[in-house]
Amino acid sequence: MPELILTPHLQDPDGVFEALMNAHRDLPPEASRRLDAKLVLLLANHIGDAEVVKQAITLASAPA
């Protein structure tokens, strides 16, 4: 079964973080929330494997 990747895998993490912040800048809370939802859906579709997405949901939902 494919496993959610939890080791560093993202190219240009600072650039990705900056792009996220730029996208949210000046957005009211509702639009900001919708933007995040669209991002999650786009990325989930790109991943494709429902089990991997559910592993990410579980991990994100767990208390810190």
């Binding site: 669209k38 859906l41 786009l42």
Partner: protein, 510 residues
């Protein structure tokens, strides 16, 4: 002219305290279909209904392909095709724009479409006529006020009270089942905190025969709306009202008319035929069989209407139960065959509940996150096909596959195509008509190329052609079908002994 419901004659009871082999309580579409199916299998049936007519309002309107195939087996196929409105296409709108359209017609080469729309009262009228012809003892204005676990019924009629005893009692008495209440059976699940106005509207309108679903349309901001065409120029319109709506106020014609007029535009004339306000629930009984009392349809399980899984699920209950009870009463199967009604129909009910719960959750977002995700999905879906499968305006009824049924004989060799055991037999065109029409309502075999002598009704089809393709079959392949036309077993070149063993297994004889 609005629909004039028939009034059926009711008579004073004459057999006080009598015992009957089968009593069905509830003359809705599920009770009537069960009665007809049993009567056609030569089982005497008494059916009690608390009213003397068919359903009030259109109620279940979307009859799925599998229901049509079942009703066709009962003899109503031509009448339904002639009277109903055939549709295969659905459209989803958000705001002012169409998001996408979908086609439910899976492939050519099936007699029945994905759906026809027909008011429940029309279907019930056809079923009542067929029940009368088949000799069902229909007793109108017989209201059951109590049932005991051993099948004793206390009944009120306009002519005074009476009592009957049932060897087998079939409760098809709806979501408010009096039999369920009498037996104190818990009926638990989920209530959706939302209200929906359901209106039947008679009009001449330019909308095509399609399912149209709007999220947040300009004529009903903030809510959803669903439109279906039915027979006789009657249209079903559902308006989502929200949890705070006052059902009594919303039902008043002076409050309904402006909602409909806003949708249709100022120049469309229409008449209201029926209006109701609903709160939807998804729930079921823990078991559908309680010794010799069996629950069917809404009495056993209730779903929200998005997906047309209530009526269609109920008809699948009837199809599943009737042949089993008939086989037992004819002495061909032990009582344990009736346990497989639970084993097959409870997973089917759970599938319907799961799907209709998910649809209702999408249509009724519960918090900010749910609103944000739904808005995101609808925005993305307009331009990107990937997001369209996420839009959930109802997952329309599909026939249950009894893949884990104890009645199935598992494949003994690998099959690379065709429907596995538990699947409803697919239709296909053949040289002498539709495949399903050529199958008897009994255990039977479907042989591709010559079959060995099996002592069973056997339909022999050529090992090439549309049917062979659909069944993934080559010369010598054989499918063994149950009376409800679910596949019980299949083989490459079976021996008669293998088929006989599968037959015994499908009757719980081994």
């Amino acid at each position: 002219m609005p629909y004039q419901p028939p009034r059926y004659p009711h008579h004073p009871p004459t057999d006080h305290g009598a015992r009957h082999p089968v009593i069905i309580v509830g003359g809705g579409m599920v009770g009537l279909a069960t009665a007809l199916d049993l009567a056609q299998r030569n089982i005497p049936v008494v059916l009690l209904d608390d009213d003397d007519t068919v359903s009030i309002g259109s109620r279940a309107i979307c009859h799925a392909k599998r229901s049509l195939e079942y009703l066709s087996r009962l003899g109503l196929g031509d009448a339904l095709l002639a009277k109903g409105v055939t549709w295969n296409t659905g459209r989803v709108f958000a705001g002012e724009n169409q998001v996408f359209a979908f086609d439910l017609q899976q492939e050519p080469g099936h007699e029945f479409p994905a759906f026809i729309n027909l008011q429940q009262y029309h279907l019930e009228e056809l079923l009542v006529q067929a029940c009368q012809s088949a000799g069902v003892d229909l007793r109108w204005k017989h209201r059951v006020t109590n049932a005991t676990p051993d099948g004793t019924l206390t009944i009120e009629t306009p002519h005074g009270p009476t009592t009957l005893h049932a060897d087998w009692l079939l409760a098809a008495d709806g979501a408010r089942s009096e039999i369920r209440r009498s037996l104190n059976l818990p009926f638990v699940g989920k209530v959706f905190q939302d209200r929906f106005l359901i209106a039947d509207v008679t009009m001449q309108a330019p909308f095509p025969a399609e399912r149209w679903f709007w999220f947040d349309p300009p004529f009903h901001p903030g809510g959803s709306v669903l439109l279906h065409r039915q027979a006789d120029n009657v249209w079903r319109i559902d308006f989502q009202l929200g949890w705070n709506a006052d059902p009594e106020e919303e039902k008043r014609p002076e409050n309904v008319r402006p909602r409909v007029q806003a949708m249709l535009g100022p120049n469309t004339e229409f008449e209201l035929e029926w209006v109701s306000v609903y709160t939807f629930r998804c729930r079921r009984l823990e078991n559908f069989r309680h010794n010799r009392i069996l629950f069917l349809g809404d009495a056993a399980h209730q779903v929200s209407p998005f997906g047309a899984r209530g009526g269609n699920g109920g008809l699948q209950d009837a199809d599943n139960l009737a042949w089993k009870l008939a086989a037992h009463l004819h002495g061909n199967a032990p009582e344990s065959l009736l346990d497989t009604y639970d084993a097959e129909r409870i997973p089917a009910a759970d599938e319907n509940i799961l799907n209709s719960t998910r649809s209702t959750d999408f249509i009724t977002p519960k918090n900010e996150a749910a609103h944000a995700y739904r808005a995101a999905i609808l925005e993305l879906a307009a331009n990107h096909p990937f997001a369209r499968p996420l839009v959930n305006s109802g997952r329309l009824s599909r026939p249950a596959t009894y893949q884990n049924s104890p009645l199935n004989t598992p494949d003994d060799t690998p099959w690379h195509a065709g429907p596995p055991p538990g699947t409803p037999a697919p239709d296909a065109p053949t040289d002498e008509g539709w495949l399903l029409r050529r199958l008897p309502p009994t255990f039977c075999a479907l042989s591709f190329g010559p079959a060995p002598a099996l002592g069973l009704p056997t339909l022999t089809l050529p090992p090439e052609g549309p049917a062979a393709t659909r069944y993934g079959a080559r010369e010598g392949d054989l499918y063994f079908l149950r009376p409800d036309h679910h596949i019980a077993a299949r083989w490459h070149r079976p021996t008669p002994a293998q088929v006989a063993a599968a037959h015994r297994r499908a009757l719980c004889q081994s």
